[in-house]
Amino acid sequence: MTDTAVPYLTAKHGIVGLDEWELVVGLEVHCELATNTKMFCSCANHFGDEPNTNICPVCLGLPGSLPVVNAEAVEFAIRIGRALNCDVHSSVFARKNYFYPDMPKDYQVSQYDQPISADGWLDLADGSRVGITRAHMEEDTGKNTHAGAGGRIHGADYSLIDYNRAGVPLVEIVSEPDIRSPEQARIYVAELRTILLAIEASDAKMEEGSMRVDANVSMRRLGEDVFGTRCEVKNLNSIRSLGRAIEYEARRQVDLITSGERIVQQTRHWDEEAGRTRDGRSKEEAEDYRYFQEPDLMPIEPGQAWIDRVDAAMPKLPAARRQAMAAVAGVEPTRTAVVVAVDRQLDELGIAAIAAGGDPSRVLTHIEHNLAVEGAGALSPIHVAELTQMEVKGELTATQAKTVLAEMLTTGIAPAAIAAAKGFETMDTGALEAMVDEVIAGHPAEWADFVAIVAAGDDKKAKKLTGFFTGKIMQTSKGQADGKAVNALLAAKLNAGG
């Protein structure tokens, strides 16, 4: 889950220093489908095997071989299309013609003017919506290893090709240029990844290349209607590099424009180590892929029954789950705790705990701060509800509740029993006040200072002394005092003039 750990929590828009500019990004995400076999042949679709072991005449492009479409790949492609709110169409395959040694036929079977899915959208955790232009099926290429030049393509002596990946089924998801910040791009990819995992169409591992992202980036001055010239940034191996690359590319383009130069439409490659994009073109030739309908394959017409079947089996997707969690908790779906709950698969627990009488706000707090990292295991929603009820009643402080929750996770025991065993007891206001008075009496000089400082309005020093007294009181109470109640008592005593 490393890929999705951070972005929600830091989501904010814009790039520092480029206030007068608008970033325009469209993303092309390739995901390998989690089928048993390749797109057009019965070879295993499996990452990490010995080179050239999952090969046959078809995926090697041997003369005379012919492709046959994997039904499961079509099923997954339709699932992806429907999960992205696309219309699923009758579609045909086309050949995209260009020479490259990792492509056994020197054309790629893809979909061109009749993709299986088009015109959808994706609702993101930050409340924004990104249009989906299309999601089409195609086949993956083999993998080149470059010898010499530190494994880089430039300056390599020769290259070695493994065709295990050639013919692995892909769906390419093309977004509208609706993305306006590096953060939004990251959120988009994270959301897409969550969806792909939820519908079990892809394992979506950027680090293994089963999910690959290209970014079309352009800049325009705020208020302009027309898009600027875009560059396509490739070789983005993580969500982190996606954000970095977009920001770099944005600055590069603004620098060029402001120094009076023209942006040239081109493919650029992200260099993670150097933290910059580089010009990827070295070919003199203009691209001319000579697309035409693949004559070895027949059209795909899924029909309404198939689409209905996919819709009926569709699991609840993150946007809907955030809505549900937010509705039950009575908060906005963009609330961090809600986003985290869904992202960490804790929303079902949260909803059940609230349904069982849990305090919504405290349930969300536990999910966001105490359960997000390690997960909830087999935690009972009823126990979570009971825990928050104890907090509401003042039977447990926040600190105690956290301790009890940790114990609940490992033992599965009800919170009341744990609290009792730990000797966590209700401390009534009278006892607490007596304790506060005892501490003040024990530190007369500090208290005098405190009163003077507060009177002088020196917030910084006042804060420091608040911490001092709170700490002493908590120490005396052995953690059973409620922090809020202590603060309230201290404030009351200061107001009373000491």
Partner: protein, 473 residues
């Protein structure tokens, strides 16, 4: 002796497959040097296969309907472990790791492959002059071409090297050489025979089909190789009817139309006369003969010479020196690929690759490829209209009898015109066959083409059987 009779006698134990194969191999040894029908003769494998057939007969098993029958395979059909070259330098030495579906089916039917036959490089041509390994000669006149592109397969049957052979037909490559060599050649309905293992020329047009000395053998061979193949997405599902059983049905009541557009200018008068005689013969046997019009057929040549090269330009991209076949090295992969393709392909192949690349390239697609696809629609429609009035159609197979070597080699367009009568069928995906029907003024064989709607092989074979019986000697 017919293939049918050979198989019958071998299955009955009246003669051994081994003695049959040895007999044909002897004929090959004698005449092959002057004809060059084969790129490779697989004598050893043939003897082993024949012995296996004999062993099965001895064991009381039935080796199948083509038990012990020698067959020659066009060298664009993949044969496991046996070189498959497409008569191109670029594939020289390549040994496929798999068999074409038709090759598997033939083996299962007991047939014995005797070798791989010569063709125009990648099946692009009408004379077999475009082979990288030298031309095949017409057994009826060694100074003349056998036609093409399946010239080797046609010549092999005509020369008695095998009673049967397989070819492939993209624009007439079975029917035209059958006509020029005086044998029967069948181009089946597109999708009737699996293309798996046929090295592609133009995927939406290519179809494998039989050559034989007679109609009944061709019908039997087609029955053996036809049928649905899950490895070919363009294979028609469903059972295959028996063609052999309809051969004696006659043509009484069959409606036969002569395609008027293919009987005019450009067709040699002696060829035209034979088609007219053929029609008369069918009429005498009870067929209703009339004039049929397929107006768009006249534009078939133009559409074909855009569509086929376009598909070919893509199909032939894979010959890049990376995975198999020829490599001519270079400093970079791009250079290596260019060196390999420049040296590995012959002139006609390059010409068609460039033509097809142009037809598909940005700015020209609509004007050429797009327009050709629309013409293809018109041809389909015109045939459909004609087949409302007729069960089968009749035309010459080729505009002339076999021409002499070099006669058309320098003028691609005149060579392309050899296919004018056969091309429309491929564009429509329909079956057609060439039946020998006498000779021309030069004494060379003339073929009459019988055309039928998609999956109309049954009426096609009925007409062919009657034509064969009435062919002038």
């Amino acid at each position: 002796m017919s293939a049918i009779e050979l198989a019958r006698s071998i299955r009955a134990g009246e003669r051994s497959a081994r003695e049959v194969v040895d007999g044909y191999l002897a004929t090959i040894a004698e005449r092959e040097p002057s004809i060059h029908a084969f790129n490779v003769v697989t004598a050893e494998q043939a003897r082993v296969a024949a012995d296996a057939v004999d062993a099965r007969v001895a064991a009381g098993d039935d080796p199948g309907p083509l038990a012990g029958v020698p067959i020659a395979l066009k060298d664009n059909l993949c044969t496991q472990g046996i070189p498959t070259t497409c008569s191109s330098k670029i594939l020289e030495g390549w040994r496929p790791p798999y068999d074409a579906t038709v090759v598997t089916k033939l083996a299962a039917a007991g047939a014995v492959s005797v070798g791989k036959t010569n063709l125009d490089e990648f099946a692009m041509g009408s004379s077999t002059e475009n082979s990288a390994f030298g031309p095949t000669r017409n057994p009826h006149d060694l100074e003349r071409v056998p036609g093409g592109s399946s010239g080797g397969s046609a010549a092999a049957v005509a020369a008695g090297f095998a009673p049967l052979s397989l070819g492939s037909d993209t624009g007439g490559s079975i029917r035209q050489p059958a006509s020029l060599c005086g044998v029967v050649g069948v181009k089946p309905t597109y999708g009737l025979v699996s293309r798996y293992g046929l090295v592609a020329f133009a995927s939406s047009l290519d179809q494998i089909g039989p050559f034989a000395t007679n109609v009944a053998d061709a019908a039997l061979l087609l029955e053996v190789i036809a049928g649905h193949d899950p490895l070919d997405s363009t294979s028609i599902p469903g059972p295959v009817p028996s063609y052999s059983q309809v051969l004696s049905d006659g043509v009484d009541g069959l409606r036969v139309g002569i395609i008027t557009e293919l009987m005019g200018e450009g067709i040699a008068p002696d060829v035209r006369r034979r088609v007219e005689e053929a029609a008369e013969h069918l009429a005498q046997n009870g067929a209703t003969v009339g004039e049929a019009s397929v107006p768009a057929a006249m534009f078939g040549l133009s559409a074909y010479y855009l569509i086929a090269p376009a598909e070919a330009s893509s199909n032939l991209a894979r010959y890049d020196g990376v995975r198999y076949g020829l490599r001519v090295d270079g400093a970079t992969t791009a250079e290596m690929m260019e060196n390999t393709r420049t040296e590995g392909f012959g002139i006609e192949v390059k010409r068609r690759i460039m033509l097809g690349t142009y037809a598909l390239s940005a700015g020209y697609y609509e004007a050429f490829y797009g327009k050709a696809q629309k013409v293809r629609t018109l041809i389909v429609r015109d045939f459909a209209a004609a087949y409302e009035k007729f069960d089968v159609l009749l035309s010459p197979t080729a505009p002339t009898t076999a021409f002499r070597f070099g006669e058309k080699a320098e003028d691609p367009l005149s060579m392309y015109l050899s296919d004018v009568c056969t091309i429309p069928t491929n564009l429509a995906g329909q079956p057609a066959m060439s039946v020998p029907f006498g000779v021309g003024d030069d004494g060379m064989p003339v073929g009459v083409q019988v055309l039928a709607p998609a999956l109309g092989e049954v009426p096609m074979f009925r007409a062919a059987a009657v034509l064969e019986a009435g062919a002038p000697s």
